[in-house]
């Protein structure tokens, strides 16, 4: 089991950041790498257990299931059901915390998963920087 942890500071109030990221079907609206997304079976995007089915700009398709959504803690976690990444038991959590000094947001995103040992480095880098940090950077741009 490996763990990837990425965190950043976004210059916007936590409510504003949460409004962007709480939509489980909203990845195309704020990440740079998702082309399109839908919620399977037409379920609401904030119904626990719903599955988002999205296509990356590079063509890969990923299915992820919503496990937790907390408007109280600004926190969301989900698992991967299918992906081309070669990961098992993948569970990720995105969490926001208000920074009272300057009314900003501390954003954390972490994942735990299993994979072939020789792919650990590449996946940790790809997910930590290529996915989480890239999404934070994009969010910073959009909320500036």
């Amino acid at each position: 089991m490996i763990k990837v942890y990425t965190s950043s500071v976004i210059e916007a109030p936590a409510d504003a950041v949460w409004a962007k990221v709480r939509d489980f079907n909203g990845l195309p609206g704020w990440t740079p790498f998702v082309a399109e997304s839908r919620i399977e079976q037409g379920l609401p995007a904030d119904k626990i257990g719903c599955v988002r089915n999205f296509r990356l700009k590079d063509g890969g398709v990923i299915r992820e299931q919503l496990l937790t959504l907390s408007d109280y803690d600004y926190q969301c976690s989900y698992s991967i059901l299918e992906s081309p990444m070669g990961v098992d038991n993948y569970v990720a959590t995105l969490k926001l915390t208000p920074v009272t000094d300057g009314n900003k947001t501390f954003a954390e995103w972490w994942a735990e998963f299993d994979c072939a040992p020789e792919k650990e480095r590449e996946l940790a880098q790809g997910i930590g920087q290529g996915v989480f940090q890239a999404a934070f950077d994009s969010l910073k741009q959009k909320l500036r």
Binding site: Y5, T6, S7, D101, G102, F106
Partner: protein, 475 residues
């Protein structure tokens, strides 16, 4: 019940912020609202359950107890036991989290407590604004000021004073000596001043087998971190140390970071280099082997020596009646100027009768004895009932047996400095030392400065007793 929450982002790596915050007694160093603070009962400042007893600069007095401390989760939780403020059931917790984007630190601080009805807003501002937000800024300033480069020392060649064998001062050679880049847990330090101690002579002679020649000697120094591979230190930090591994007689040294402490801004390199070994020894002797209380009768052997003078100064400030042994009238006068009320001149280790006379027949509640094997019977005679005897040196040769203390129900300890500065304790011991220096309780008298290259001359003068006060070497 009100709940106060504040948070901020500090522009420093998490380990650096945590190194300060995990020390429950560090707040007087960085928090602008906090005055003098101490941990009760001499407990370590990272011992869960320990109590910090402090005053705020506005005059209020508070006792707080550490309830939880986690180096894994970077959490410190504590409560108020007593306060001169109308706050009840106060429990606070602070937590750090790593901001991987930019290697910064997110700091969350919150508490719940009760206040008199109608004063909620006032206390939210007092605690959240004055204490928490004031603390964020105070710590950020503390970290950036203690990291400020003092004009960065001029570049030097990497050279060291190496003992090429065991013997006289002539075995000391000033040689080129390359340092390695720091491995994990190590730092590379450029020295600005190096302290000279009599133990350096013993090591050079091979009496203490702490090196295998050829190897550099020297126990203490102060300088600037050039390169760090250890949490809590970064390039440009002003640091000082007394380390268990010899090697301080060098321009640059790579060493484990655990002996290092950050120097307070007001302190100069020469003072730090001269005082770390002897000052931290005086600190643990007076506070940790035995807790000297006002009115205690304290006997300090070699009261005019390096450790002896600092011990006399500090013991007197603690309110003790200080007696000391010295070998000449000149040294008696010196000891007296440094807080030794009753210097006893003796060249034959006869002092017990005098000690009895000055203490109304009681004897010494504690004896600080760096003499070694000599004077065992006299010490036993001079000890008070239930007295404590600290045998910490071996100036007259190693002690191979111990006396029967039954006649006095006495206790004995055989401390070694580096057991009192292990781990996080070094910050506490050095912190007390620095405060005592800043408050003027301790005075350091540097009388002799030699170029590092002339270390052999310093040893010659030291052994010929041509020096008084402290000696530093300057690279």
């Amino acid at each position: 019940m009100i709940r106060v929450r504040r948070s901020a982002v500090i522009d420093a790596p998490i380990d650096r912020v945590w190194a300060v915050l995990r020390d429950f007694n560090s707040h007087s160093a960085w928090h602008p609202a906090v005055g003098p603070s101490r941990i009760e009962n001499g407990e370590p400042a990272d011992q869960v359950g320990c109590i910090r007893n402090f005053t705020l600069k506005d005059g209020n007095h508070i006792r707080e107890q550490l309830l939880a401390l986690s180096d894994r989760d970077y959490i410190s939780t504590y409560c108020i036991l007593d306060a001169t403020l109308p706050m009840r059931n106060y429990v606070a917790s602070l937590q750090l989290k790593r901001v991987t984007d930019g290697d910064r630190t997110f700091w969350h601080w919150e508490s719940t407590f009760d206040v008199p009805r109608g004063r909620e807003k006032e206390f939210d501002e007092l605690v959240g604004g004055g204490v928490y937000e004031g603390g964020f800024k105070g710590l950020a300033d503390f970290l950036s000021s203690s990291g400020r480069l003092p004009a960065a020392l001029p570049r030097v060649e990497e050279k060291a004073v190496v003992a090429t064998g065991f013997g006289g001062p002539e075995v000391l050679q000033f040689q080129n000596r390359r340092t390695n880049p720091p491995k994990a847990g190590e730092v590379r330090v450029q020295h600005a001043a190096v302290g000279v101690n009599y133990i350096d002579v013993y090591i050079r002679k091979g009496l203490y087998r702490m090196i295998e020649p050829p190897a550099p000697i020297g126990m203490e120094a102060a300088g600037v971190v050039l390169e760090s591979n250890a949490p809590g230190f970064r390039a440009g930090d002003r640091v000082a140390y007394a380390a268990p591994q010899p090697g301080a007689y060098a321009t640059v040294r790579t060493m484990p970071s655990d002996s290092l402490v950050l120097m307070p801004e007001w302190m100069d390199f020469e003072t730090a280099a001269a005082v770390m070994l002897k000052g931290m020894t005086a600190e643990y002797l007076l506070h940790r082997t035995f807790r000297v209380q006002p009115g205690d009768n304290v006997l300090v052997h070699a009261a005019a020596g390096g450790v002896g003078l600092l011990t006399c100064q500090w013991a007197r400030a603690l309110g003790a009646r200080v007696l000391g042994t010295v070998s000449s009238q000149e040294k008696a006068a010196l000891a007296r100027r440094n807080g030794c009320e009753f210097p006893i001149v003796t060249s034959s280790y006869r002092f017990a009768e005098e000690v009895k006379r000055h203490t109304g027949g009681k004897g010494a509640d504690v004896i600080y004895d760096g003499l070694g094997k000599e004077a065992t019977d006299e010490n036993l005679k001079a000890l008070a009932l239930r007295g404590h005897w600290v045998s910490y040196g071996q100036a007259s040769g190693p002690r191979d047996s111990f006396p029967d203390l039954t006649a006095k129900s006495g206790t004995l300890s055989r401390p070694v400095l580096f057991h009192y500065t292990a781990g996080a304790l070094v910050n506490e011991v050095a912190g007390n030392l620095f405060r005592a220096l800043q408050d003027g309780i301790l005075r350091v008298d540097i009388r002799h400065r030699y170029p590092l290259a002339a270390a052999a001359d310093a040893h010659r003068d030291l052994e010929a007793r041509r020096t008084t006060g402290q000696i530093v070497l300057l690279p």
